[in-house]
Structures are given as C-alpha cells and as structure tokens.
C-alpha cells in the first residue's frame, strides 16, 4: 500500500450557525482504497466529504493531504488532487459528452491536445468513448452518471499518485444494474483513492475495502465492511433492527428484521 497521497483528519470539527456538524473526527485515508461512508440523514456525511476536500472552513483540528495542510494548497492544486461529485448534476445548457468531460480539466493548464487526450482516457475508462460527440441530454440516466464520473476522472488525470474521487451519493437514483456497473468501474481504479457516501449497505459490503459509520457528527465505527456493518452498530446508528443472511454463494446481505 502506498503511503504517499494520504488524507488525514485530526480532531476535525465543523460548526455552522452554532450547530456542530462534525466533532473531533480522526481518520486517515489511503489511496487505492474504496472507502464508503454510511450513516443516517444529517449525520454529517456530505459535510465530512466537503471538509476533507478543503471546500469548507473548519472550526477545529486539521485536514492534511500528503502531510501538508489542505488550506495551504491552491484552489487549482486541490482540484487536481481531489475531485468531488455531487449527487445530482443538472446542466443548464446542453453540451456534448466530451465538452462535459472537458469541464473537469478547468484546473489544468495544458495545451489543447493534452487536455483532449485526458478527456479521451476518461471516456474510455467509463466505456463512453464512442458517444463523445453525442449530446449529453440525449443520454440515459445511467450514461449521464458515467459521463460525470469521466469528468471527475479527467479532473484528476495526472502522473502523481495523489488522486482522490469523492462521490456524494453518486447514482443513488439509478437502477440496480447501473449502480453495480458504476461500482465495478470504480473497483477497476486501483491507483485512485475513492470515498463514497452511500445508503445501500449491501453495495458497501460488496465493493468497499473499508466502511466508516457516522452518526451525529462522530465516527461510530471504522474498519472492514463486515466488522462495521453489524446488526448492533446499525441498530445504534439508525435505530432499526436488521439481520444478516448468508447467500448460498457465501456473500452476506443485510435485510431489515421483520
């Protein structure tokens, strides 16, 4: 496991209008890992993503990227290292697929051919290169999510190992096949650190290297998916009884207790 490019939070505290959204969060993220953040609504999952990518002013503690405080990076450097994707993107004007992906290259100042090459690489990674010249609005919901994924891939397309994708409930409104497709794509990105906020425990069990369970701005549990997503932890965090079942192939599923 590479040690460079780590993101570390030390006693990270975020407050907004007198309300504590995150308190004393300690965690270290390593590139190459797929980390899933779960937790009930209002637990501070999105806030944590924003604080870790340096987009939020923090009230206590520190966030470092490669042992350097995140606020000491320029805006462009931060964008080149950490790409953040919101849950739902609505374009106000219609662009072509490659134009959308090119938006991700904003923080890079390279000649046009180099930029276009990065766009092509990103589109190839999500299997959408043949659709490059198509209009974004003509795509299906699943394809649009892949275009957005390509956009943030293009955003962190460079040589350094210090590359992060932050996905905030990305593609939650997609059907099950598309959701799995997105995560299979993410699993292939072995050199990139991925942090995804999710609501689906079973997706987390299946694809995550590590799960962080967040409640009320604090980390309740952090570790391997099987160790974190236990019925007792889920009962504490969500106040809902669940049970684990084993499929005949040996994979574990979490279902609500009836």
């Amino acid at each position: 496991m590479e040690k460079t490019g780590m993101i570390a939070a030390r006693r990270l505290t975020v407050q907004k209008q007198g309300k504590t959204l995150l308190s004393e969060i300690n965690l270290t993220l390593t590139p190459g890992e797929l980390t899933v953040i779960v937790g009930p609504n209002g637990a501070g999952k999105s806030t944590l993503l924003q604080a870790l990518s340096g987009q939020l002013s923090i009230q206590g503690g520190s966030v470092t990227l490669c042992d350097r405080d995140i606020v000491n990076y320029t805006r462009a450097q931060r964008a080149q290292h950490i790409a953040h994707l919101s849950q739902h993107i609505e374009l106000c004007f219609d662009l072509t697929v490659s134009e959308v992906v090119m938006l991700g290259r904003y923080a890079h100042t390279l000649p046009y051919t180099a930029q276009a090459a990065a766009v092509d690489r990103a589109l190839r990674a999500v299997d959408l290169l043949p659709h490059a010249q198509q209009s974004y609005s003509s795509l299906s919901g699943g394809e649009r999510q892949r275009v957005q994924l390509a956009r943030i891939l293009a955003q962190i397309d460079h040589e350094s190992p210090n590359r992060w994708l932050f996905l905030d409930e990305h593609g939650v409104h997609l059907d099950i096949a598309h959701q799995h497709h997105i995560f299979q794509l993410l699993r292939q990105l072995t050199t990139v650190g991925i942090v995804a906020v999710l609501h689906d425990f079973n997706l987390a069990l299946r694809y995550a290297d590590r799960v962080i369970l967040l409640t009320k701005g604090k980390i309740l549990a952090d570790g391997a998916p099987q160790a974190v997503l236990t019925p007792s932890n889920i009962q504490i965090a969500f106040g809902m009884p669940v049970q684990l079942i084993q499929s005949p192939e040996g994979s574990t599923w979490i279902i609500p207790e009836t």
């Binding site: 080149q80 919101s86 106000c92 904003y106």
Partner: protein, 341 residues
Amino acid sequence: MNAFRYFRIFAGRPTLVLSLTILFLGGLTLLEGPVPIDVYTLLSILGHLIGLPTHHYTRETYAIVTELRLLSIVSVLISGAALGLSGAVMQSLLRNPLADPSLLGISSSAGLGVVIAALCFGITQVWIPTIAALTGSLIGVILLYALSRHWTSGGSLKLILAGIALNALLNALSLFLISIADTHILQSVFFWSLGGTSGIHWTTTGLAAILTLIGSILLYRQASALNVLCLGECDAQSTGVDVRVLRILCVIGVAVSISASVILTGPVAFVGLMVPHVLRAWVGPNPQKLIPVSGLGGAALLLFAYWLSRQFQTVSDIPLGVVTALLGAPFFLGLLWKKQA
C-alpha cells in the same frame, strides 16, 4: 448546389455573417434619412475621415454624416454589443436562459440613476450621467443577485418574475421623476428613457466605448470559469472555480457594460435575451465563443432596430426601446411557451 455551398460557408462563420450585416446596415443608415446622401459623397466623406484627400461633399452633408448618423451608428453598435455580451454572461451566471440584464431591471436601474442625476445636477456635463448610470446599474445587479440567491432551488421563473417586477418599479420611478420635473429636462430625458440616441456627443460615445471595453474584457476573462458553472455552483467550486470571485467580477462587468449601454441609448430591453439565445443554437453554449459572438450579434440587432426605427416618416424617430420590445416581446413569449411544453 452552389447556393447550398455558400450557405454552409456562411453558417460556419457567425462572425463573418454578423460583421457583414453590420457593414450593410451601417452603410444603409448612413445613406438614408431626411437628407439623402449618395454613395459617392458618402465614400468621399469617409475617405476624408481616414485622411484621404477627397472633397466631393458639402459642409452640411459632412456634418450630417459625422455628427449625426455616424455618431448614432457607433453609439448603437457599442450599446448593442454591451447588451449582447452582458446577456450571454447573465444567462450563464444565473444558469437561466431567460435572463436578460434589461428585462431584469439592471438597465432601468442605471436609467433611474441617470434621471435622478439629471434632476439634481442638470444634463450639462458628460461624466455626471456616466457615474450615475454606473452607480445605478451596480445597485441593480446587486439587488438582482441578492434575489437570485434567495431562490436557489429551481426558482428560474420566479427570478424572472421578480426581475420584471423590479424593472417595472424602476421604470415607473423614472417616469414619475420625469413627470414632476420641468419641461426642459422632461423633453430630453423622456425620449432618452424610451431608448434613443438623441442628444449625445462624441465625448459620451467615447466614454461609453471605454466602459464597454473594460466591461467586455473583464467578462471575457471569466468565460472559461462561467463554462464550468454550467455544472452548478457546488461542482464548479470543486473543479477549481472560485465561484464567489467569479460572481463578483461578472456582476461588476455586467454593471459597467450596461451603464455604457444606458448612457448611449437609454434602457433597451430584449437584446440581451434574444441575441445569446439565438447564437447559442449557432455556436454552442461555451461562453468563450458565445460572449464575443453575442457582442457582435447585439451590435447587429440593435443597429437593425435603429435602421427600422428610421423607416417611418415621423417627426422624430421611433424610440429604439419600442422597436426592440416589438421584436423581443413575442420572442420572449415564444420561449416561455416552448419552456412550458
């Protein structure tokens, strides 16, 4: 077959088409009018202006061309360009294809500034209306932006409605002030407030040209960041755009440009709506292309409106604002109709 080829050549070059339109309409406007001027005389006068030893003109025709028609045309072009490119920027900034700086009350805010200044200080100095228009449009943009921040979620039509109400209020205030003023100021300011080029001098036009230049450079420099704003503020921010700075610079750029337009031709609506809208379908939504082309398009459209306003044999010209509203209002209704469908 040939015609089709020419069509394709022109369709790929909006800059060329718009420039030719401006040249053609400009030439036509120089020749036509209560005192017709023939082509040879016109060429002779224009030749003299660029330093050629030509003499085929009278003193009167020379004055008509340079002090009246050429001045009006240049003013209309500058004003139109400012309106067109501000429209393109506002539509990207507010992420709303129906945004138009004039419809949303920025022009009328600048206009109100000029009216108040005219009432307080008279209309003798050039720089007084300029500063007044600048202050007015800045207040207008900030007000509008505050409104748009208030309705961040899906309130695109709400914002338009609020802007239109703001516009109506500011126009009414202007007209109220003009009505209670004495007749001398009333006459000159009233006609200007409907959109017209009467009573300007080359100094005013020069000053406005400088303002427009500053505004358009400032706005054009924001083009690539504005393009990213298409993703929404949150993702634009994480892509590396400083959204707060972008907003402030755009607001200043639009205010400066609009104030230039207002001191030249008064508040003229719909140009900033129609031009970027039509040209977006032609050159695409990327502000790096759309902003300059919209400037050119705005100049062409306002010159067309000006030419049209001079086609009626009336005592005075039809106000420019009336012509653009006659063209633009049905266009706007059509857009709303399409948006609903």
